[in-house]
Subunit: 146 residues, 2 copies
DNA sequence: AGCCGAATGCAAAAGCTTCTCATTTGTTGC
DNA sequence: GCAACAAATGAGAAGCTTTTGCATTCGGCT
């Protein structure tokens, strides 16, 4: 059973069969301190620059992809064309995104999870993953209404 | 209440406030005859070529975007980077995609729909849309298992 | 400390999608 | 029907995000 983790470290990188390099440690560090938890590769690049770390965008993409394969990070395809990444702390959840301000909130609902499994099974599919994203306007006065 | 439509026509284009041009009619026609119902812009371009219609890719993107605004077509962001389009016949549904062969099946589940609405409301969001896609291996022997 | 393969940075390239603009095509009124 | 005008199209250029090639650098192990 997976346990929710609060801290990631070089250990996690090593366990993924990757060398513990400075870029990888810094990227993991930034992902960990994110307030909202969701960033594009570009955003991550800028955050690292702000933190004084000059890490090439290509490296960021490479590392994020490796982290994804290792299960350290999850990649989402929200509307808008670019991929958004999030640290995988072991607790699966879905998303609700404000289409005005872009805010992302998370939720988990066992009823939905169960129904998905049932539906897949009834169609002969073996579920590997799923992506559920609700789009709407959040409660912020600036976003509310249309 | 929306009604499921089997046929689209020039009327639908006109009602969207668009001129009834040859490219638009042809695109709508191909979308209508699709077996699986889901195509990328590129696929659509090739299908039209096969049908002897030389319609530029740029036009296809433009028209699909207009159709989307008009509610004639729905755009999905499945994994893989490119957008996939589908004729909107008025019946909302979600998708289950085989990650081996790419087959797409549709489903609708009122329980899930209701739960989504409840979750959004509890978080102060006004739902505008949602995207639920289950990824897995379909029952085809070539895809089954991992 | 030194070696070797892995990792990085940069720039170039590759996909997908959008934009620009000259040309063509619907539509509307006569 | 036909002229007139705006809207739509096609072709290529441009824009973005993401990936790749290659020389250089770095981390891990002896």
């Amino acid at each position: 059973m997976k346990v929710k983790k609060d801290m990631m470290s070089g250990e996690d990188i090593r366990n993924a069969g990757l060398k513990v390099t400075l870029p990888r440690v810094k990227i993991l560090g930034v992902l960990e301190q994110l307030e909202h938890g969701h960033v594009s590769a570009e955003d991550l690049y800028k955050l690292l620059l702000d933190a004084g770390e000059e890490i090439g965008l290509a490296t960021i993409y490479r590392v994020l992809t490796q982290f994804e394969s290792a299960g350290l990070v999850t990649r989402h395809h929200f509307e808008g064309g670019q991929s958004v990444f999030e640290l995988d702390r072991g607790d699966h959840h879905d998303h609700i995104v404000c289409i005005r301000c872009g805010k992302v909130e998370e939720f988990f609902d066992q009823t939905i999870e169960d129904r998905q499994q049932e539906i897949a099974t009834s169609k002969g599919f073996a579920v590997e993953a799923h992506a559920l994203t609700i789009y709407g306007y959040c409660k912020d006065p600036k976003c509310k209404g249309s």
